[in-house]
């Protein structure tokens, strides 16, 4: 382990800090062990770490041969995925980077294709982000301006980078611009730009999702949510700026209740590595939103008064189902029984092309001492204590997904998957 990280608790922050100074192989080992030890564990942290690592990997890779790059990324990606197979975002990011490289390689080979998959890929994305202009202008990344002349891969990796340009319909631009740029362009530079855009996307995905909040939350609504998901909080906060509603917050004991309590009461979460920069935002209660904290058991009792259930997620699967914090499934069921719509907010990066044949393999079991503490040690000897961390929620329990591209029915997700990942990368 690198000596720099000693003062820091191992985690995303320490990893990113040491990424620049350490040799690349050390960094890879570092991330693998962090993933294995669950010291980086939230979807976003994993995604950010993976993207940063792959950027270093590619910049350290002294070749412009696409197939060699792909090989290198694949081998790193395989090891990362093996380190923590249940963090599916790691695989998602690796696949997207692979897709970037392949696109570049194809662009190089034939600059004048018009109707391949790449052209159709960007179609569903480009028009959508255009309808949320206020948020975009605030959170516009600097790097996306800097990387303006990148070619069409940016359209698919980072949908909003070119929305400010009016005349860039997907079919017209590539064929028009590419021949001039690509011939002896360094693939690596292009790919690095693409990865930067993925990193940017990870940074602003919550704000993009939040921009749709007013379309989905009406006044005086009673909304039930679960866990301390930042995506959900930002979504609700955005709506809270304009509308008054009530939030019922199930505390998700025992795995996330502390963070939930902190979120609800507006105390800054202490060890939150994901949102260190943004954690100083005002809580919902400061916006005059009544927040009612309930134990998870009271969900059914209250569901008859709830207008909408808004859930965060760990990852979304291609079949429209999702893997989310334990307890989500019961909540979604209860909502279904009461005919309450269930809305899942999730960044596109959580969308995994993996189809789950064995649902049990997706579920991770956590620390059982959170369920029965050490003060009941005698009990632990005698009984089997279980603490599942995740639930698989089937697609039929979800009514709507809201991603940074807009709202989708669960049945449409496969299409977004095919937009974002290339077939050859799905199982690499």
């Amino acid at each position: 382990m690198p000596s720099h990280s000693v003062p820091l608790t191992p985690g995303l922050a320490s990893f990113l800090k040491t990424l620049k100074t350490n040799p690349i192989d050390t960094s890879i080992e570092n991330l693998i062990s962090l993933l294995k030890r669950r010291q980086i564990r939230h979807s976003r942290s994993c995604a950010t770490a993976t993207a940063h690592l792959l950027r270093s990997v590619i910049s350290a890779c002294r070749t412009s041969d696409a197939s060699k790059l792909i090989e290198r990324v694949q081998s790193v990606g395989r090891r990362l995925i093996a380190a923590q197979p249940r963090e599916m975002v790691v695989g998602n990011i690796v696949r997207r980077v692979l897709g970037l490289i392949r696109d570049e390689a194809e662009d190089d080979r034939d600059g004048d294709f018009t109707l391949s998959e790449a052209g159709s890929e960007s179609q569903p994305q480009t028009p959508r982000p255009g309808d949320d202009p206020f948020d975009r202008s605030v959170s516009k990344p600097i790097s996306s301006l800097a990387t303006h002349p990148v070619s069409m891969f940016s359209l698919l990796s980072h949908p909003d980078s070119e929305t400010s340009l009016p005349g860039t319909p997907a079919t017209a631009s590539p064929s028009g611009r590419l021949p001039g740029h690509t011939p002896n362009k360094d693939i690596r530079a292009e790919v690095l730009d693409g990865i930067n855009e993925i990193i940017d996307e990870l940074g602003q995905v919550d704000d993009q999702i939040a921009a749709y909040a007013l379309d989905h939350i009406h006044s005086n609504e009673i909304i039930l949510t679960h866990t301390s998901s930042t995506t959900v909080q930002k979504f609700l906060l955005k709506a809270a700026a304009k509308r008054k509603f009530t939030v019922i917050h199930a505390e998700s004991y025992p795995n996330n209740h502390e963070a939930t309590h902190a979120t609800v009461s507006g105390k800054a979460p202490d060890d939150d590595e994901i949102i260190s920069t943004e954690s100083f935002q005002k809580p919902l209660i400061a916006h005059g939103i009544t927040v009612i904290l309930i134990p998870d058991s009271a969900v059914f009792a209250l569901m008859s008064r709830v207008n909408k259930v808004i859930l965060g997620t760990h990852s979304v699967l291609a079949n429209g189902g999702l893997v989310a914090a334990a307890g989500t499934r019961v909540i979604a069921r209860a909502a279904k029984v009461h005919q309450t719509p269930v809305v899942v907010v999730s960044g596109v990066y959580k969308l995994s092309p993996v189809y789950p044949f064995d649902f049990d393999s997706l579920i991770e079991y956590g620390d059982s001492s959170k369920v029965i503490g050490y003060e009941d040690g005698d009990l632990v000897d005698q009984i089997d204590v279980q603490n599942p961390l995740y639930d698989y929620v089937p697609a039929e329990l979800v009514d709507l997904y809201i991603t940074n591209l807009g709202g989708h029915a669960p049945s449409y997700l496969y299409r977004i998957v095919s937009d974002h990942y290339r077939k050859e990368d799905i199982s690499f």
Binding site: E251, S252, Y253, P254, N255, H257, E258, H261, A262, V264, S265, G266, K267, D270, I285, A286, G288, I289, T290, V291, I292, L293, I294, P295, D296, S297, A298, F300, A301, L302, S304, R305, A325, A326, G327, R329, V330, R333, A334, K336, V337, I363, V371, I372, G373, Y374, E375, D376, D378, L379, Q382, I383, D384, V385, Q386, N387, P388, D391, Y392, P394
Partner: protein, 517 residues
């Protein structure tokens, strides 16, 4: 924190009455001038109260207010305004807002009664309001009622010591569970009856019921009575009132005690054995039985089945804040059963390989719904909606004494709200890793921090451990601690009672049969 003695009750009632006539008076009156006497009279007419009645109320109200102010002073102001007064300021505010400006002030002055009533109460309310906003969850406003009693101070002198003790035990969940509360209440009442002597000039059958009502009122201020308690008390009162006044006290008292004993025996002890016996028959070798929280009758059933040599596994689902399943798990594990334990978040995993669900009941309502510990409905629902389409049978074990003629559609109209502070984690989980720290936490914390770095971070963890600590001072944040929920009848396949195993739709019939007997 506050003591909800009988005193605030009449006061708030009185206030409501005094406010009501004032409202129409104000709306009509601004142009008219201070015909002070006629205004309340008008309004009173509208409210169907004769002036004499109104005067009487006002007097009562005044007395109550004085009493309250006195008790307030005694309690150093902390106790001001229970839920009753707390609901009023809103009304008052809107009143004042509606008829803004000088006329309002004039009208206020013009009605001396209200004017005199207001300063006191308003002052008190204002103080309270500054300290804490209304923390009642709006939908459940009707359930908050009185705050639970915190001490035995102020309990009526009629209340028997055994009942006093029972009240505190009920409040602290020392005695918890519908049957246990019922038995404990009956046993306490038996002692009340044993030590009871009929005052001169009344008969036992007349006076004992009122004497018992004092005990019951006290108990219900500690924790709202359970359905089973209510049923038992009703039966006892019926028995008392059926005693011939000519029967001497020395004969009546033993017969009442005998009645209580046989009631406990028939309705609960034997009933439990019968239920456990017939429910245990439903368990087969290889079963995985899921149960929720800690029901005594389910425990008995499982132990009975285990004693019969059946090989099965038990999966207990538990929930915050009571963790009743822990005791059940301990008992079953000690008896040698194979037990799996998870919390409510793990329902879908626990239910995955389950073959039967056994649930206890707080009550069965007349429309066949199961009224039980909050979370039961989630378990029953998961059993019925398991992925793969296989439904797991849900069995409810319930004595007929828990049947009620009340009906319930949702968990909101009828429910019990426990103290929300129970949800605040009092000790952060980190505490146990560093034992000396929490003990010394409040005082020498900074010193410690200067000594060593790790203990400082630990101390910080301890202080941030429960961000809900001061939730009452946090605006717009509410905590809700429901006790029960209502499980739809379609989730329940069978109700096992001492009178046989029934579908939930048979509950009203059985209830009628058992109460008519």
């Amino acid at each position: 924190m506050e003591q909800s003695q009988p005193q605030p009750q009449p006061q708030s009632q009185g206030q409501k009455v005094s406010l009501k006539p004032a409202k129409p008076a104000k709306q009509q009156q601004p142009p008219q001038d201070k015909t002070a006497a006629s205004a309340p009279a008008d309004a009173a007419g509208g409210d169907k109260l004769s002036p004499a009645e109104l005067k009487k109320r006002a007097k009562a109200e005044k007395a109550a207010r004085r009493a309250r102010e006195k008790s307030e002073r005694d309690l150093a102001g902390g106790a001001a305004g229970g839920q009753g007064p707390n609901t009023l300021p809103g009304k008052k505010g809107s009143d004042a807002g509606a008829s803004a400006g000088a006329p309002a002030a004039k009208a206020q002055k013009a009605i001396p009664r209200r004017g005199s009533a207001q300063p006191g109460s308003q002052g008190g309310v204002a103080v309270v309001k500054k300290k804490q906003e209304d923390k009642t969850v709006a939908v459940f406003g009707h359930l908050y009622g009185q705050q639970r009693r915190t001490t035995i101070a102020g309990a009526g002198k009629e209340v028997h010591p055994a009942v006093l003790a029972l009240g505190l035990q009920l409040r602290d969940y020392v005695i918890c569970g519908s049957s246990a509360r019922c038995v404990a209440t009956l046993l306490a009442f038996k002692r009340v009856i044993e030590s009871y002597t009929t005052p001169k000039g009344t008969s036992l059958s007349r006076h004992l019921t009122t004497h018992l009502s004092h005990q019951i009122t006290y108990l219900s201020t500690c924790r709202p009575l359970s359905i089973s308690q209510g049923n038992a008390i009703r039966a006892l009162k019926l028995e008392i009132s059926s005693i011939d006044p000519s029967v001497p006290e020395t004969e009546a008292k033993p017969s009442l005690c005998e009645f209580i004993d046989s009631f406990i025996r028939e309705k609960i002890t034997v009933a439990d054995q019968v239920i456990a016996g017939s429910a245990a028959q439903k368990i087969k070798d290889g079963d995985v039985v899921v149960t929720f929280a800690g029901s005594s009758i389910v425990k008995q059933t499982l132990l009975t089945a285990f004693k019969q040599g059946k090989k099965f596994r038990v999966s207990i689902i538990d929930s915050r804040p009571l963790f009743e399943g822990k005791n059940l798990a301990r008992t079953l594990a000690n008896a040698g059963l194979e037990v799996q334990y998870s919390l409510i978040s793990g329902i879908s995993h626990a239910i995955k390989d389950a073959t039967k669900v056994f649930l206890g009941a707080h009550a069965m309502t007349s429309n066949g719904r199961l009224y039980s510990r909050v979370g039961t409905a989630l378990v029953a629902m998961s059993a019925k909606e398991r992925a793969g389409g296989v439904e797991i049978p849900v069995l409810v074990c319930c004595e007929t004494v828990k049947f009620t003629d009340r009906v319930a559609l949702d968990s909101i109209v009828v429910n019990e709200i426990a103290d929300a502070d129970e949800l605040v984690l009092t000790q952060p989980p980190h505490q146990l890793t560093d034992l000396p720290d929490p003990a010394a936490a409040p005082g020498p914390e900074p010193k410690k921090g200067s000594k060593t770095d790790p203990s400082e971070s630990l101390a910080a963890l301890n202080t941030t451990g429960s961000p809900l600590k001061d939730w009452r001072d946090t605006r717009n944040l509410q905590l809700l601690n429901l006790m029960y929920d209502v499980t739809p009848a379609e989730y329940v396949d069978m109700v096992v009672t001492e009178m046989g195993s029934l579908p939930p739709s048979a509950v009203p019939i059985v209830h009628r049969m058992s109460t008519n007997m």
